[in-house]
């Protein structure tokens, strides 16, 4: 871990509507000693629109970035956004598999890409490379009231042939990370169900309906907040939550946080540092109920004392009135 240096490709969303994801990933990487560097002058990965035009073209938009990273002498790129991740993984897969495809892609690029960069999600870097032990060690705070539904989204772990990480139907990496920092994780059936993805603008109603299912399943599972690892999921569930309520007649008011923001809360960072002010549905109640580990320990002891007193009282009462 100590010697490994990652390229960190934040992607376009993390400069705009998902700036809090970028902030919190960087904080968590710093806290856990992940050495990363942003590739200079990176460009858009092409995302969903590019692969409706042509696969070579789409791969070229992605590979321009991989080529920059390769020239920096790095072999792994950490990617917080699943759409960017999949764009990189698809470009890599087709270029490695098919020499003609690779040549065609390189013909579109100024700097050739030689397929030397492996893309990993931020989630994968934290889960596999940093590891749960290190993640637990850094914890300073407890959020006793939080019950989280871990929502991975559709393409963080799928398709398995490309993702090469965790389970495609019932992933557990985010569950385990959140448990490792002391958060109660709900058994959530819609972990990988699609929220409506990039159709929010042209097909609002459809997206609202799909997102509504995700939220209602989370609530049914007993969650009072949702953890995400994707800027588009966050936007569809949080920014569009009022739209969802209008479209489906629901009455949701559930905070949707990036899993890295939740880690940041457990690591004692301030709401401002974690960009919690960027959330449309406020998560402030978790900040207010947050305790340091010591405070939490004291509280637990007091509660136990209280319980013992209660038991004693009952025992004496029973003795007096058998």
């Amino acid at each position: 871990m100590a010697n490994k240096r990652y390229a960190y490709y934040s992607g376009c969303s993390l400069e705009g509507t998902a700036v809090e994801y970028d902030k919190s990933v960087r904080l968590i990487f710093d806290a856990l000693g992940v050495d990363y560097i942003e590739p200079e002058d990176w460009s858009c990965c092409g995302s969903t629109p590019a692969h409706t035009i042509d696969h070579v073209f789409a791969a070229a938009l992605a590979a321009r970035n991989l080529s920059i990273i390769e020239k920096m002498g790095l072999d792994t790129v950490a990617v917080p956004c699943p759409a960017c991740l999949m764009a990189f993984k698809k470009a890599q897969y087709f270029m490695e598999k098919d020499e003609t495809f690779k040549e065609k892609v390189n013909e579109l690029l100024d700097e050739k890409y030689n397929c030397g960069v492996y893309a990993k999600s931020t989630l994968q870097v934290l889960y596999e490379d940093v590891g749960l032990d290190e993640i637990t060690k850094r914890v300073t705070h407890v959020i006793p009231d939080m019950k989280v539904a871990p929502y991975y989204g559709c393409i963080t772990n799928r398709p398995p042939k490309l993702a090469q990480f965790d389970d495609p139907e019932n992933p557990i990496s985010m569950d385990k990370i959140l448990s490792a920092i002391g958060i109660e994780v709900c058994d959530f059936a819609f972990k990988v169900e699609c929220c409506g993805a990039a159709f929010g603008v042209p097909k609002k109603d459809m997206v609202n309906r799909l997102s509504a299912k995700v939220i209602s399943m989370a609530i049914e599972a007993g969650a009072n907040c949702i953890a995400v690892a994707c800027p588009l999921c966050q936007q569809n569930l949080d920014l569009r939550q009022e739209q969802i309520n209008k479209t489906t007649g629901s009455n949701f008011n559930i905070p949707v946080l990036y899993f890295t923001q939740i880690m940041g809360l457990a690591y004692g960072y301030s709401p401002k540092e974690l960009g919690l002010d960027k959330l449309i549905v406020s998560a402030d109640n978790f900040v207010h109920s947050r305790l340091t580990k010591e405070q939490h320990e004291l509280l637990k002891q007091e509660q136990e004392k209280g319980k013992k007193k209660e038991v004693k009282k009952q025992e004496t009462q029973e003795e007096e009135n058998p």
Partner: protein, 188 residues
């Protein structure tokens, strides 16, 4: 239910084209329906994804390329993940979209307009300019007030940049677009 005369309407070339462009073999599909059962969009599709696969097998080019289904697919990869024959169904859907664009048969104009607005932003600035993409979509699609309800929210939470961030290498990105257009002219 619509009856299809296969003797008259099967386009054998189309079957071969899909095979070649996707690198997949649609004839492996035995209509188990696993893809459709898992597809979050089945409710919104005119042809559920397993029927799209069947329509490919029977060479129903026009029906498929003018369908809404191929554009409403979000590439969520559920079908690909669950296909027992390991067909990359989502990739085939992608190939169908590309073909529909090429033949100017796109049924879901708004989705195409959104994608085009997105790509224009990349060509101009090298990265996505969210506000510009939305404005461009609203003007081009004629749906002037799309997501105008979100405006106050993103403003109040300071979530957007009003001005685009142009990267230094934006010309290099634009060149990818240009070279791609040239390659189309060369190879047809």
């Amino acid at each position: 239910m619509k009856t299809i005369n296969l003797t008259e309407s099967t386009d054998w070339n189309f079957i071969e084209e899909v095979k070649k462009e996707s690198g997949q073999d649609p004839s492996l599909c035995y209509q188990c329906g696993n893809c459709t059962a898992g597809c979050p969009y089945s409710n919104f599709f005119d042809y559920p994804v397993s029927q799209v696969m069947r329509l490919i097998q029977t060479g129903q080019k026009e029906t498929i390329l003018t369908s809404k289904a191929i554009w409403l697919c979000a590439t969520c990869e559920t079908c690909t993940t669950r296909c027992p024959c390991e067909i990359d169904v989502a990739h085939i859907m992608d190939v169908l979209r590309i073909m529909a664009r090429r033949e100017n048969k796109v049924s879901e104009k708004d989705i195409k307009t959104f994608y085009d607005s997105f790509l224009d932003s990349i060509k101009k600035f090298g990265r996505l300019y969210e506000v510009g993409t939305l404005i461009s979509y609203n003007l081009r699609s004629g749906h002037l007030f799309t997501d105008s309800d979100l405006g106050p929210k993103v403003l109040a939470h300071n979530k957007i940049h009003f001005l685009p961030k142009k990267i230094r290498g934006s010309e290099k990105v634009a060149k990818i677009f240009e070279r791609y257009q040239e390659s189309l002219k060369k190879h047809g």
